[in-house]
């Protein structure tokens, strides 16, 4: 996304004088932004989560405890601290921020991409945890059997391990999506609360509560966020049931 300003950028709280349930353009922007940020955070962190979960479940190497601690850090630290660390690392002058800006043209600070990064980091431990548990539940005897049938380790992963952990991956993705939809502290610390760029659903609700007469707006967005969360949950249940039926235990 470029930095082009929108032709009209209505402020939160600027209301159309109709029914209180009518969602304003600004609110729609926040909803769509939240969905985009959460989706991008979920999809981009998946390959990394898969690799880290595999390392933690199967790997035997020096520093495994350290990696485990590092992955779980965002779960334990106050979100503000995580946001501040991201600001230091991925800010325009931060070591990683400068690197990505120079070599990939990818700027995080005060952009929606930064919001996605913050959400991905916050949701990462939950996704890794879910995938790791499902990897640990895989019967390794099945993998041995595949090896004796001529499958190399990579093929064993692709044809046996991966299909068997699909339910865990789906669960991890949904929980990461839900976490990303609700993320607030790290995001607002890292990329601030810029309408149309970094103002997600949570930030918009927060803004409503900070202005007089914003209760109706906060209520509207709250209802919408409940609907989105429920939809995600039901969708994940359906997918998990479908996947579990396919890999039903012998």
């Amino acid at each position: 996304m470029g930095g082009q300003p929108y032709p009209k950028r209505p402020r939160i709280g600027e209301r159309y004088p109709l029914d209180w349930l009518a969602v304003s353009d600004a609110e729609w922007t926040a909803i769509l932004l939240s969905l985009r940020v959460a989706t991008v955070a979920m999809i981009c962190s998946l390959p990394f989560a898969l690799v880290v979960a595999m390392l933690l479940a199967r790997g035997r190497f020096w520093g495994k405890t350290l990696l485990n601690g590092l992955v779980h850090l965002p779960l334990i630290l106050p979100p503000v601290v995580t946001g501040f660390l991201l600001l230091l690392l991925f800010g325009r002058r931060g070591p990683l921020g400068a690197f990505f800006a120079d070599y990939f043209g990818l700027v995080f600070s005060f952009r929606w991409t930064g919001a996605a990064l913050a959400c991905a980091v916050m949701a990462f431990p939950l996704m890794v945890r879910s995938i790791r548990l499902s990897i640990e539940a895989v019967d390794r005897k099945l993998e041995d059997a595949a090896t004796t049938l001529g499958a190399s380790p990579l093929w064993v992963f692709a044809t046996v391990t991966l299909p068997l952990i699909i339910p865990g991956i789906i669960a991890g993705m949904i929980i990461a999506f839900a976490k990303a939809m609700g993320e607030f502290g790290a995001t607002i610390t890292f990329v601030s609360n810029i309408p149309g760029e970094t103002q997600t659903l949570s930030a918009a609700i927060y803004t409503f509560t900070q202005v007089p007469g914003g209760d109706a707006g906060a209520m509207r967005l709250t209802i919408i966020s409940i609907i989105i969360s429920m939809a995600a949950l039901i969708f994940s249940e359906l997918l998990a049931t479908f996947a579990a039926r396919r890999v039903a235990a012998q």
Binding site: T148, G150, A151, S152, A248
Partner: protein
């Protein structure tokens, strides 16, 4: 075909130091649970890397610790049938069967697919999910899956142990057909004398990680109980005979062993085919005069070769009956009452229904 295996490996308190060779057919690794059979077969498969050892197949060095050669499992092309079927739960029976074919560089459903499906009688199961199969069906599919990967050697680790007697009886004929038709050397791990007697050409007896006996099946399985790690219950002799004919009204089959004829029950074999009979020593009675009006159908006249006292008070008596040696286990009391000594003429009595085949 020739297979050479040497392995030394330490697993906790258990040490394995075993070696054997095979020149084809079915080689049974035989012994109690915990004797190191499964470790040894896993070393052949490459699933376990021994501290030192060698695996050679037809002159190819598959693994040699001294020369630092270790072919990874997936490049060995050794089929492996495990105790549990280990079918992939997310694939249908057909796709389970086809799994190894793809890596073996064969595609589609060629003629050997149809042949092996037919051999194992699993044609009607192809579209099912593994969870919908019985134990015996699963194991047959697992055997087919291993065969369809076009293995150079087939390893079977107690493939029948998890099944009940009826299922075992269902699968054994398929294994015999496999041995006779497929021309793939097989290493077969088992602790059951019956299975080994029926299938193996060579037997390697393992005890506490060491080879205590090895050789032709008839020799090893007929050895006195002490050399067999199997527990006394199953000690006995293995006889090889030729089917002469079946009496359909009484469902009795006559088998000729040398000049002797044995009648056994419940066999389906065509005249002229070879059959192995395992006669457990505990199922044989001895008499000093020919018994009359007795239900047992096999009464063999012979001379006592040896009498060996066992630890538990029983006596292992070897009787030479023409071309066959029969073992009988009797009490010391009977030995003394009947005044049994080597060279004495006795009659060995074997119930037809007691013979394993």
């Amino acid at each position: 075909m020739s297979l050479t295996v040497e392995a030394r490996h330490q697993l906790g308190n258990f040490s394995l130091d075993a070696a054997f060779t095979s020149d084809g057919g079915v080689t049974a690794l035989f012994g109690r649970s915990g004797s190191g059979k499964t470790s040894l077969i896993n070393i052949i498969a490459g699933l376990l890397k021994p501290e030192s050892g060698r695996v050679l197949l037809d002159g190819d060095v598959i693994a040699d610790s001294e020369r630092r050669i270790f072919t990874p499992v997936h490049r060995r092309r050794f089929g492996y049938v495990f105790q549990e079927a280990r079918l992939f739960p997310h694939l249908s029976v057909r796709r389970n069967l086809a799994y190894g074919r793809w890596f073996a560089g064969k595609s589609g459903s060629g003629s050997d697919f149809a042949r092996i499906v037919d051999l194992l009688g699993i044609g009607h199961l192809l579209e099912r999910s593994p969870s919908a199969l019985s134990g015996g069906e699963k194991q047959r599919v697992a055997i087919g899956r291993a065969l369809l990967a076009a293995p150079r050697l087939l390893l079977m680790d107690e493939p029948l142990a998890a099944l009940d007697e009826a299922r075992k009886a269902e699968i054994l004929p398929y294994l015999e057909r496999l041995r006779d038709d497929a021309r793939i050397p097989i290493v077969y791990v088992s602790h059951s004398v019956g299975e080994v007697a029926r299938l193996a050409r060579r037997v390697v007896v393992l005890e506490n990680g060491r080879v205590t006996a090895s050789g032709a099946a008839a020799e090893v399985l007929s050895a006195p109980a002490a050399t067999l790690a199997t527990g006394r219950r199953e000690a006995g002799v293995l006889l090889e005979g030729e089917v002469e004919g079946t009496d359909p009204t009484h469902e009795l089959t006559t088998v000729r062993v040398g000049r002797e004829r044995l009648r056994i029950a419940g066999v389906t074999a065509t005249a002229g085919s070879r059959l192995r009979l395992h006669i457990a020593a505990r199922d044989v009675m001895l008499a000093t005069s020919r018994p009359v009006e007795i239900s047992a159908l096999n009464v063999l006249e012979g001379r006592i070769l040896t009498l060996t006292s066992e630890e538990d008070g029983s006596v292992d008596v070897r009787v030479n009956c023409g071309d066959a040696t029969i073992a009988a286990r009797i009490t010391r009391f009977s030995r003394d009452t009947l005044q049994l000594v080597p060279g004495k003429t006795v009659y060995a009595i074997i119930k037809s229904v007691a013979i394993d085949h």
